[in-house]
Symmetry: C2
């Protein structure tokens, strides 16, 4: 966990963890052999008590947080549910979340939604329903913090910088990035953060979510359901993502690169306390490309 030293992170990416990448040899345009480190992608089957819920394709770190966060974000695990155990079997690639009372989610499992993101089995109607009457805190966001966060996050050693083809999502507080999760599935990264918050009992009011991924309807809904008032991304956004953010009063900031960004909803939270002209444009090497 060398990456944890000298960082503000409680949880940082683990680009040096051997099982997260694999050595692969390819040939380049000239036919020359090229050795690469390629990010792993493993199935992880999530059970809620005796019920198989979904099989996620993940890099495989933090299986317990992924399971808890997925179930939480799908509305299959609520505050009233008491989690008695989370059992992970690395060999079987299975994680079982056990609750005191075994509630029935068959109804929810009837309706599967295929999203723009990567959440198979998302109960979309349910997620939307969860937004009704949702009140997000009015926590202000300083643009100086946004710029500081982007600079720190983009320089953080990560699987993305090592191997690419992966998404990152970071839970932040003020100018400090706290938990930086990466995964082959964009939504896995968010779910792992949700799982960590749920397990650790972390409050969302004063937090901000930074992601490398697109701001689709589902990313916005998950962030709102997590109670986080601000969602920031380097990437673009969909019309519905913007519409939902406006409806729930979430502050949505997209295309944040170098000094530029576009606020698409909840501009009232932004405190523009820094002159954008004083922000250095991203050096190409620092600039993250996309997982795509």
């Amino acid at each position: 966990m060398a990456t944890l030293t000298d960082t503000p992170y409680t949880i940082a990416p683990q680009p040096d963890l051997p099982r997260l990448t694999r050595a692969v040899t390819g040939t380049d345009q000239t036919g020359r052999a090229v050795d690469l480190r390629v990010v792993e992608e493993r199935p992880l089957t999530i059970y809620l008590n005796s019920r198989e819920i979904v099989t996620a394709m993940t890099i495989g770190d933090y299986p317990a947080y992924l399971a808890l966060g997925f179930l939480r974000n799908q509305g299959m695990l609520s505050d009233s549910d008491v989690v008695t155990a989370v059992d992970y079997d690395a060999e079987l690639e299975v994680v079982v979340v056990r609750t005191e009372v075994d509630s029935d989610h068959e109804a929810k499992l009837q309706k599967k939604t295929r999203t723009s993101g990567c959440a198979v089995g998302t109960v979309f109607g349910d997620m939307m329903a969860g937004l009704t009457g949702l009140k997000l805190p009015q926590t202000p966001v300083r643009t100086s913090d946004l710029y500081a966060l982007a600079a720190t996050i983009n320089r953080t050693p990560s699987l993305y910088l090592e191997a690419g083809a992966i998404h990152g999502t970071v839970l932040c507080q003020g100018e400090r990035p706290l938990v930086y999760m990466e995964d082959v599935g964009r939504h896995n990264a968010v779910d792992k953060i949700a799982g960590w918050m749920f397990a650790e009992g972390i409050t969302a009011d004063d937090k901000l979510l930074y992601t490398t991924g697109r701001l689709t309807s589902e990313m916005v809904i998950k962030t709102a359901l997590m109670g986080i008032p601000t969602l920031v991304s380097r990437s673009g956004f969909t019309a519905w993502g913007v519409e939902i953010a406006q409806q729930v009063g979430l502050t949505l900031v997209g295309r944040m690169k170098g000094q530029r960004f576009i606020c698409l909803a909840g501009d009232h939270r932004l405190i523009r306390d820094m002159d954008p002209a004083s922000v250095p444009d991203e050096a190409r090497r620092q600039g993250r490309k996309a997982a795509e």
Copy 2:
């Protein structure tokens, strides 16, 4: 369909189609109002006869091809199935695929797999099973064609270039791009191509698939199931994607930008008939960024 003129495409992107984008006003880093065109994201619920299968989040073009391709790639629609009708109701955002014989897919629907991609409800085990004994044709691929395709595709007017936050996948033959589908969900674009091929009875042997998205296990599996021997991407790849491509003998080319690319499997199909040094590096404007 102005975009169709002077292009080699049978189906080209439709960046000018009003219902595919929405005008959105945001504020930039200086607080100035910015008007943008943002790509739409709509739910489309796919039925197979009387059975609701999945709700996809899509830009909403080619709903029939998306439905056919999704069912096809999930193994819920086989060559033996006779499609009697595909009914689309734009108001209800529902598409119903009707077959002569109504087969039972409950078993398949029991097992949901959440992939790195965007295919909710993917029957992963099934897809893998479909690969057993699969023989892909040995159709050679000239690197001169790959470079020509990349150049043509990257210059093609598209929703990506207009609004961003979208993925593109292109069915190609030799140096000619035939069908260029875009969607907010990476896998929707592939499924729309599969649906078009199924509906039009297009052979896959002499085709190649070019995508802007990552080469995950599911992208590789879908391409192989479609019978297309070569998959090319601007983006990266996962270890399992590479492993599956090697197992099924699919030619997998990733990180193709400018003169560079890396072949991760099936190098024997490549005919390096062009000096990479003679390929101009992508101008930044031409270079596609990622949908992320």
